[in-house]
Amino acid sequence: MEIGMKVLVCVKQVPDTNEVKIDPVKGTLIREGVPSILNPDDANALEAALALKDKDPSIHISVITMGPPQASVMLRECLSMGADAAYLLSDRAFGGADTCATSTTLAAGIKKIGDVDIIFAGRQAIDGDTAQVGPQTAQRLDIPVITYVQDVQVNGDAVTVQRQLEDGYEVIEVKTPCLLTAVKELNEPRYMSIYNIVDAYKKDITVWTHKDVGLSPEECGLSASPTQVWRSFTPPTKGKGEMLKGTVKEMAAEVVAKLKEKHAI
């Protein structure tokens, strides 16, 4: 079959921050047993691509990630959901990248893949919550970006999206190539299909190092990151207050008395 539009999805493997717990004694993060997952917004980004392919099977979907070798597990998952090809940018030199350096590496990888019509990314990754890598990658590729996309319609090279605002949305038109970042409201991600899981293991994951994407080690990772983590710490907790006692009526009266004390009423 003739290959139609080329769609690419940026995906990241993240620790499930819902499962992260704080050690109450030491005040440190407990990482043990915390599963790694496909970043939730990226699942929406991938679903958006797959939905386009449902309508037009000639569409070719690639997924790309920059991460450690074990990120290939997540890439397999993406293939099992229906992606056609997977790229893993993995190199010691990529380590310690901030969003600025991450976007440089992703953009270099995407350029090497070449001729992409639509790039989807997640709005934000739940480990860093920065929401920066999508727009920054678009800047480096010199293509238009629309963030917070909650609806997308594609008609040839014309793309119409709804961009979520705090109090509504904008309808925006753009031409391909472009980069769109997906929010949770965009769609409901599908599960892996049995048929695809079997198929996914027949596909290769392409692994590239900094040399493969034409970057020098100085252009990658920590050495290309303007921002640096100076310190990290677990947030101080506020500390438990007073538990009110008595009957419902007594407790209600006490709360109201407290509110009065605070001049709330």
Binding site: L29, A138, E185, S225, T227, V229, F233, K240
Partner: protein, 400 residues
């Protein structure tokens, strides 16, 4: 900055492996090896009992950072009105500027927004850089990025603050890449290092489980987006004057690659949660969407407004604009009443700094009680009506 293992000192105890928030350390032949997921955060440096991990210095500056002066605030406007976060940025920007001993400026883009310039002076801007052009009426990434980038290259600010709104979080990353500098997202605290006068930006990561303080030592400007509702607003000083500098605005054909066809406002007003003094917030414990009616009654009696946890938004009980938390709005009202909310870290991230927190929950072990000033273990459907009755009693007494 990064970290390095001093192999001679490493005893293979694995403490660092367990401490690493990024799962970046592995043990190879009983020696710690820092992997590619390392962000140089330094948690392991602290965790190592043998001082076997040390911080390493980062790269040298390529620009002369002394050429960059002044604190800039992005004066985000929509429909000719300043966003509430702008006065927060000016309040915070003023403190930072005073500590460095520099000026506070605002950069304003829009169409016929000249009257906002005066307003910005009254909130503390010494200078306003104004880009007034029909193409700048509504925010568009390409247009705003170009104009502000050009202003940055011309006037070289030392620090730029943007609100972490849907617009600020779109513009900030694009500007940072253009300027070849770093950007710290969604900051909740900013400080000037008294020694080197550089900015320290603190922000939550891992869904609020960890706080990170970020620096941008060798690149300028230092840029942050700042979470709305967190910083203290600037006080308005009527009649205060400043200087307006008009920015040249010119676009070539096809330079702005997106077209805004329509802006659709939600039927419901944007919940002004950040402004509310009293918030009555409901969680999945309400059981049904109708539960919010009860909360509304209580909120009305207290002159406040309702809000919600994400669980209710996900269930379609209430609009996303009411959601408090990591992926919703950050609030700090005088009083926050959490009803049927368990107190997940992502929710706490958005309400923990409220002055007084009252929690009502059936489960005495709910984590919400860990941050509550007053906790009530009970069924909200009994407790809230009882509180309302009590409020009515007081109101009646006052009448007599």
């Amino acid at each position: 900055m990064g970290v390095r293992v001093i192999n001679d000192k490493c005893k293979g105890c694995t403490k660092c492996v367990k401490s690493c928030p990024f799962d970046a350390i592995t043990m190879v032949n009983r020696l710690a090896v820092i992997g590619s997921a390392c962000t140089g955060c330094g948690v392991c440096v602290e965790a190592c009992p043998f001082d076997a991990i040390e911080k390493t210095e980062g790269q040298e500056s390529k620009i002369d950072i002394r050429d960059y002066k002044g604190v800039w605030v992005f004066a985000e406007q929509r429909e000719g009105r300043l966003m509430p976060v702008v006065t927060e940025l000016l309040g915070e920007g003023r403190k930072l500027a005073a500590e460095i001993g520099t000026e506070l400026c605002a950069v304003l883009c829009g169409d016929k927004v000249e009257d906002l310039v005066e307003e910005l002076y009254t909130y503390g801007a010494d200078k306003v850089y104004l880009a007034d052009h029909p193409e700048l009426k509504n925010y568009r990434t390409d247009a705003y990025t170009k104009v502000i980038y050009e202003a940055i290259t011309e006037y070289r600010p030392e620090i730029i603050l943007l609100g972490a709104t849907h617009i600020g979080r779109d513009l900030g990353p694009c500007l940072a890449v253009r300027c070849g500098t770093g950007l710290t997202a969604d900051c909740t605290k900013l400080e000037i290092d008294p020694e080197d006068k550089k900015i320290k930006q603190t922000r939550p990561a891992f869904g609020g489980n960890l706080m990170a303080t970020i620096v941008c030592p060798n690149h300028r400007p230092q840029m942050s987006t700042v979470r709305p509702g967190v910083m203290e607003k600037a006080k308005q000083e009527p009649g205060r004057k400043g200087e307006c500098i008009k920015l040249p605005v010119e676009f070539k054909e096809n330079e702005i690659r997106t077209k805004v066809v329509e802006i659709v406002k939600k039927a419901t007003e944007m919940a002004s949660l950040t402004e509310a003094e009293v918030i009555v917030s409901g969680g999945r414990g309400l059981g049904t969407p109708e539960g919010f009616e009860l909360l509304k009654q209580l909120a009305e009696k207290l002159g406040g407004t309702v809000a919600s946890s994400r669980a209710c938004v996900d269930s379609g009980w209430i609009d996303h604009s009411y959601q408090v938390g990591q992926t919703g709005t950050t609030v700090k009202p005088r009083i926050y009443i959490a009803c049927g909310i368990s107190g997940a870290i992502q929710h706490l991230a958005g309400m923990q700094s409220s002055d007084y927190i009252i929690a009502i929950n059936k489960n005495e072990n709910a984590p919400i009680f860990e941050v509550a000033d007053y906790g009530i273990v009970g069924d909200l459907y009994q407790v809230i009506p009882a509180i309302m009755e009590e409020l009515d009693n007081i109101a009646d007494k006052n009448k007599i």
